[in-house]
């Protein structure tokens, strides 16, 4: 039964991706389920107001070294998903760099709390995931989605998360899937604790920016959607050095009017 559901789900996803890739007008936002997405977004905003924002405010009151150490440890853990994706994207230099970082920071850096790898010349690089790898391989982003609690995503990024949850994420494997032949010390709760802490850490770092955005937007849903899609595009293009957003032909059409 599970196999049938998985197969049907995969066919559905591929159809959506292919159809959207074919019909997509580059630059247009593909919000195929906008009504449902807006309802989910409203639910998420309610949850944020009641749960995540107060927790993030509390987290911000922790001493700075504790927050920095937590952020470092979470970053270190994310290498477990970044490294295989570096390899899949053919970026072997980053794979070596991130592997060295993982090794040094997990041992000398005490489970990643400190970042001695930086002093050894292995600098921090961008995170990668399976959604980005699919993007690098040329898969279109598909429709925009808002998932309950998890927030904004696209069909492509959902497929990426699906891959991670089904063997692609080593941290998920040793905690939730219980691959005991590798490591026995971790439990499922460790995985969810790391995911929740990661969300709170991100929210806490962006408290003012979120507040300002909420206060000054005329359509907050559309603002968040735009920022998410731009951010994913930037990450897939690995365009941290030069600004992709500057390559916008619409400025030129403005000149000609």
């Amino acid at each position: 039964m599970n196999r049938i559901i998985t197969t049907l789900f995969t066919i559905f996803i591929i159809q959506l991706l292919v159809v959207n890739k074919t019909l997509s007008n580059e630059g247009e936002v593909k919000d195929c389920f906008e009504k449902l997405n807006r309802a989910t977004f409203a639910l998420n905003m309610g949850l944020d107001k009641v749960i995540f924002k107060p927790i993030s405010k509390g987290y911000r009151k922790l001493p700075s070294p504790i927050r920095t150490g937590t952020g470092n440890a979470l970053n270190n853990l994310s290498n477990l998903i970044t490294i295989p994706n570096n390899i899949l994207q053919g970026d072997f230099g980053s794979a070596v760099n991130n592997s060295a970082r993982l090794l040094i920071n997990t041992t000398l850096g005490i489970a990643g709390i400190f970042d001695p790898a930086n002093s050894f010349g292995f600098e921090k690089r961008g995170k990668e995931d399976f959604g980005q790898t699919l993007g690098v391989m040329g898969v279109g982003e598909g429709c925009y989605l808002v998932l309950p609690v998890l927030g904004p995503t696209t069909i492509r990024d959902t497929v990426g998360s699906f891959v991670a949850m089904n063997g692609g994420d080593v941290w998920h494997n040793i905690t939730v899937r219980d691959d005991e032949e590798y490591v026995k010390e971790f439990k499922e709760s460790d995985y969810w604790a790391s995911r929740v802490t990661s969300g709170v850490d991100f929210r806490a770092k962006n408290l003012e920016a979120f507040d300002a955005m909420e206060k000054n937007s005329v359509d907050l849903y559309a603002t968040v959607r735009s920022l998410y899609l731009q951010d994913r595009k930037k990450k897939i293009n690995n365009s941290s050095e030069k600004t992709e957003a500057m390559e916008d032909g619409d400025w030129d059409t403005l000149e000609n009017q």
Binding site: K205, E208, V218, D219, A222, S226, D231, K234, M246, W251
Partner: protein, 197 residues
């Protein structure tokens, strides 16, 4: 003869000094502007006073009319002359309120200009970073400076960590118009509501 030579050199120096102050490079323009804004934000002025000062800066340094037209995207061409005039006024008020409202939360904003890249005669990109604090990580900010009139450079976009504020604004406005059957008046209503609050 010596007097003539001295006069000539003095005139030459004066010319270079004044000419330099006329045509400020985009980097210098952003640097001066950032220092000015940072001084206002870190001052002991009340939030309302800071907002007034920030609005003055915004009005002088941003191409509000150009940004406003850009943010309409494909709906720009459908505007009648009277709608265009109404929109320009509305957008200016909206922009200045939104711009100052977003900035006023930052009391310790210090920007370091890193470099500039001349894209063409109309645009130069200035690369900078917002210095990180214990509360906030370092943030990359790129400025699209409109240099068609080199003596009066104007900002057209801010790209924060690769995310364009102008593009975000355009997609926000376009969403409102699209969800109301392509009627730009719906955007005007939203902007009026925002300004009333």
């Amino acid at each position: 003869m010596k007097i003539l030579k001295n006069v000539f050199i003095s005139i030459l120096i004066l010319f270079f000094l004044t000419n330099n102050s006329w045509s400020k490079s985009p980097s210098e323009f952003i640097s001066t502007l950032s220092i000015e804004a940072s001084n206002i934000l870190s001052s002991k002025l009340s939030d309302d006073e800071k907002i007034v000062r920030l609005k003055e800066i915004g009005e002088q340094s941003v191409d509000i009319k150009g940004v406003g037209l850009y943010t309409l995207g494909k709906y720009r061409k459908a505007l009648t002359d009277s709608q265009k005039k109404q929109y320009e006024e509305l957008f200016k008020d909206y922009f200045l309120k939104s711009f100052s409202g977003r900035l006023v939360a930052y009391t310790d904003a210090k920007i370091a200009v890193l470099s500039e890249e001349i894209k063409n005669e109309k645009y130069t990109i200035v690369y900078s970073k917002l210095i990180g604090t214990s509360e906030r990580p370092e943030v990359k900010i790129d400025w699209r400076v409109y240099t068609k009139d080199p003596e009066n450079p104007l900002i057209r976009d801010l790209v924060i960590e690769g995310l364009s504020l102008a593009r975000t604004q355009k997609e926000e406005f376009n969403s409102i118009i699209a969800n109301n059957g392509g009627n730009v008046e719906a955007l005007f209503d939203s902007l009026n509501k925002f300004l009333e609050n």
